[in-house]
C-alpha cells in the first residue's frame, strides 16, 4: 500500500500553504494548486512570464524591492513578511511570505500563508499601539505644561540685584516632579521660595501647586519667613496633602548698596553664599513641612554686599550620581566659588549644566536653582 503522505507531488500541490518558485529576478516558474486556489488564477496564468512583484499590491511592491529583495540577496532567507497578494478577481489577500534563495539552480522558493485574520489582529494591535503612543505624548505634554506652572515665567526686576532661576526636570521630562520656585514683590521688599515636594506624579504636582499658591497668600499677612513656612505647614496638614516637602524661604530688603536677606530653612539644603574667596552655608536647619503640627523654624538675617552671590538649590543638584559617585555639596561650593564673578544667570546656568553633565545628561531628579547676585 502506498501512503498518500509519501507522494511528494501530492504533498507539493495540496500543501496547506501556497508554494511559488521564481527565477532570481522574480519571474514565476512554478506554483502549486493551493496557491491557485488561494488567488483564483488559472493554471498557466501565473507562469507565463509574470513576476512575483506584479502579484503584489503596489505599495508592497516597493517594500519588496527596497527591503525583501535586498534581504533575500544578502541572507538567502527572509521570513514573515506581511504583504497583500492581488487575486485574479482584483480583491486582495493578506499573506505572510517566507522565502529561500537557492544558488544552484538559481531559484527563489516562496511559502505563501493566507493571513487574513492574523493581519486584522495585527492591525488592531497596531492601532492600539498608535493609540498608546498618542496617549503617552499627551501625558508627556500635560506633565510639561504642569511643570511649567511650578516656576514663574519671569522673575521680578530688582534694582541693584540680579536674580535668575533655572529648572531642569528629571530624566526626559516626561514625568512631573515636585521642585518649584517663586519670587514676588511685597510691601516691604521681595520674597522668594524654593522647594521640593516629596515624590513624583500627579499627587506630588497637586501638592506643589498648593504650596506655591499658599506661600504667595501667606506672604501677604505673615511678617517673617518662618511665619510664612509655618502657615504652609498648617495648610498642608489641614488639606491632608499627604506629602511632605522641604523649602527655603527668603525676604529681601534693600539697605543702601547692600541687601538684607532673612532666610528660613524647612528640611532644605542650606543656600550657599559666595563672598570673596569664601563660600559658606547660610540659614539654620528646620523641620520638614507637612509632617508634624508643630515645626521648629528659625529666621536668620544675612547681609549681602556688592560682589556677593547666593545660591538656592534643591537636592537634585547635589544628589546627582555618576555610577556610585555623588555630586555632593563640596563640588557645588567649588563651582560657585569659581563662577562667582559671573552674573546671576551665568551662575544658574553653570550649576544646572554641571549637575546635568555629571549625570550624563539624564538627571534622576528635578533640579531647581535660584541665584541672587549683587553686582560689584
Amino acid at each position: 500500500m502506498r501512503a498518500v503522505e509519501d507522494d511528494f507531488e501530492e504533498l507539493y500541490e495540496h500543501a496547506p500553504c501556497g508554494y511559488l518558485s521564481t527565477l532570481p529576478d522574480g519571474t514565476i516558474v512554478r506554483v502549486n494548486r493551493t496557491l491557485l486556489e488561494l488567488t483564483g488564477y488559472d493554471p498557466g496564468e501565473l507562469t507565463g512570464g509574470m513576476r512575483i512583484q506584479n502579484l503584489l499590491a503596489v505599495g508592497d511592491r516597493i517594500f519588496y524591492e527596497t527591503h525583501f529583495a535586498p534581504l533575500l540577496a544578502m541572507q538567502s532567507v527572509v521570513r514573515e513578511i506581511a504583504v497583500d497578494v492581488r487575486r485574479a478577481d482584483g480583491t486582495r489577500l493578506p499573506v505572510l511570505l517566507n522565502a529561500v534563495m537557492r544558488d544552484d539552480p538559481g531559484v527563489i522558493r516562496f511559502c505563501v500563508f493566507a493571513a487574513t485574520d492574523r493581519r486584522e489582529y495585527e492591525r488592531e494591535l497596531l492601532r492600539a499601539r498608535q493609540h498608546a503612543e498618542r496617549s503617552e505624548a499627551e501625558a508627556r505634554e500635560l506633565a510639561r505644561t504642569l511643570q511649567r506652572s511650578f516656576i514663574p515665567p519671569a522673575l521680578p526686576e530688582i534694582p541693584g540685584l540680579q536674580v535668575a532661576g533655572a529648572f531642569r526636570p528629571a530624566g526626559r521630562g516626561d514625568q512631573v516632579g515636585g521642585d518649584f520656585y517663586d519670587m514676588y514683590e511685597t510691601v516691604d521688599g521681595w520674597e522668594l521660595a524654593l522647594g521640593d515636594v516629596c515624590g513624583k506624579g500627579v499627587e506630588a504636582a497637586v501638592v506643589t501647586s498648593l504650596a506655591r499658591y499658599t506661600l504667595r497668600a501667606a506672604a501677604i499677612r505673615e511678617p517673617s519667613p518662618s511665619a510664612v513656612l509655618s502657615a504652609l505647614n498648617r495648610t498642608l496638614l489641614s488639606e491632608r496633602a499627604g506629602r511632605f516637602l522641604t523649602a527655603v524661604y527668603g525676604q529681601l530688603a534693600p539697605a543702601g548698596h547692600h541687601f538684607r536677606l532673612t532666610v528660613c530653612l524647612a528640611g532644605h539644603p542650606h543656600p550657599l553664599r559666595a563672598r570673596g574667596d569664601a563660600v559658606g552655608e547660610i540659614g539654620r536647619p528646620g523641620n520638614v513641612l507637612g509632617l508634624l503640627p508643630r515645626v521648629r523654624l528659625t529666621d536668620v538675617d544675612v547681609d549681602l554686599a556688592p560682589g556677593d552671590a547666593v545660591l538656592f538649590y534643591t537636592d537634585g543638584v547635589v544628589e546627582g550620581r555618576r555610577d556610585e559617585e555623588l555630586y555632593g555639596e563640596e563640588r557645588l561650593r567649588r563651582l560657585l566659588g569659581a563662577s562667582r564673578a559671573m552674573g546671576a544667570a551665568g551662575i544658574a546656568e553653570a550649576v544646572v549644566n554641571e549637575a546635568v553633565a555629571f549625570q550624563s545628561g539624564l538627571p534622576r531628579d528635578d533640579i531647581a536653582v535660584v541665584v541672587l547676585k549683587i553686582p560689584a
Binding site: P24, D25, G26, R51, Q53, A57, V58, G59, D60, R61, I62, F63, E65, T66, H67, A69, P70, L71, A73, M74, Q75, S76, V77, R79, E80, I81, A82, V83, V100, M101, R119, E122, R123, L125, L126
Partner: protein, 263 residues
C-alpha cells in the same frame, strides 16, 4: 558627536587613491554595497556610510526637521566630505541617493568629480506629462506596508534574521542592522523619498554623470532613467541587463564594469 560615528563612516582602499563615496538608498544600509565597493579598493579611497536613521548610524542624531527633505540627507554627505576633506570624489548613489548626491554636488561642486546614479528617479509620482511610475495612493499603501511589517521588525523579526541557517557565515554582525530601521524613521524617510520632486534640479548637476538603468525596475522604470538622462547635460545612460532595483546586489559584476568603463 563626530560625523564619523554619527554616520557610521567606514573607510577602506588606498589612502592616497581618488575618493569614492557609496551611498545607500531607502530601505537598507551601506551593506548594499558589499559586493561592489571592494572592487574599487585597489585604486580608490572607498568611503561607506549610513544616513542618520539607517543602519548603525546614531539614531539619537535623527531630527524630523533636518531630515524633512532630501537636502537634510545631502547635508549628511557634505558633512562627511568636510570631515574627510574630500575633493574630486566619485559619488555612487543608489536609488534616492542618486538625487541626494546630485543635490550635494550642486551645493558644493568642488567636492565631487563624478556622479554615478544607480536607478535614479527625480520624482516617483506621476505628473502631467511625466511618468514616475506611482500614484499618491500607491505611496500611502507603501506606508501601510511599512506599518504591517512594523510589529515584526521591531521585535520578532530581529531574532529570525539573526539566526540564519542558510548562510551561517553572515552572522549577527551584519544581520543585526541590515534593513532594520526604527519604523517611525523608516516611514518618514519613505515619505521624503517618494514625495520628492527634484526634476528642476537635474539641469543644474555640475559634474560628469553616469546613469545606470536596470530593466524591469518597478521603482525607477526605464522612462524615468531616460528622463534623467535627457535633463542632465552631458550625462551618460547605460541600460543594464540586470533586472529589479538593486543591481548592486543582483548583478554586482555588471555594475562594477559599467562604473569602471565610465571612470
Amino acid at each position: 558627536m563626530s560625523v564619523m560615528v554619527r554616520n557610521n563612516v567606514r573607510i577602506t582602499g588606498r589612502p592616497d587613491g581618488r575618493p569614492m563615496v557609496f551611498a545607500h538608498g531607502f530601505g537598507c544600509d551601506q551593506n548594499m554595497w558589499r559586493l561592489v565597493a571592494p572592487a574599487f579598493e585597489d585604486d580608490h579611497r572607498v568611503v561607506l556610510f549610513d544616513y542618520v536613521g539607517s543602519g548603525d548610524s546614531d539614531l539619537s542624531a535623527y531630527s524630523p526637521e533636518r531630515y524633512s527633505s532630501l537636502q537634510g540627507y545631502a547635508q549628511d554627505i557634505l558633512d562627511i566630505c568636510a570631515e574627510l576633506d574630500l575633493t574630486d570624489a566619485v559619488f555612487v548613489g543608489h536609488s534616492v541617493s542618486a538625487m541626494i548626491g546630485a543635490l550635494a554636488a550642486t551645493r558644493e561642486p568642488a567636492r565631487f568629480g563624478a556622479l554615478v546614479m544607480v536607478g535614479p528617479s527625480p520624482r516617483y509620482i506621476d505628473d502631467e506629462g511625466y511618468v514616475g511610475g506611482f500614484t499618491a495612493a500607491d505611496i500611502e499603501e507603501l506606508l501601510e506596508s511599512l506599518d504591517s511589517n512594523y510589529l515584526g521588525w521591531s521585535g520578532a523579526m530581529a531574532p529570525v534574521i539573526m539566526g540564519n541557517p542558510e548562510r551561517p557565515e553572515l552572522g549577527a554582525e551584519l544581520t543585526n542592522s541590515f534593513c532594520r530601521t526604527d519604523p517611525d524613521i523608516a516611514k518618514r524617510f519613505a515619505t521624503v523619498t517618494f514625495m520628492s520632486d527634484n526634476r528642476a534640479d537635474l539641469s543644474r548637476v555640475p559634474v560628469r554623470c553616469l546613469i545606470l538603468q536596470c530593466s524591469e525596475d518597478v521603482i525607477a522604470p526605464v522612462e524615468v532613467g531616460t528622463f534623467v538622462h535627457k535633463h542632465i547635460p552631458g550625462s551618460e545612460l547605460v541600460l543594464m541587463r540586470a533586472t529589479g532595483h538593486c543591481p548592486n546586489l543582483s548583478a554586482p559584476e555588471e555594475t562594477v564594469s559599467a562604473i569602471r568603463a565610465f571612470l
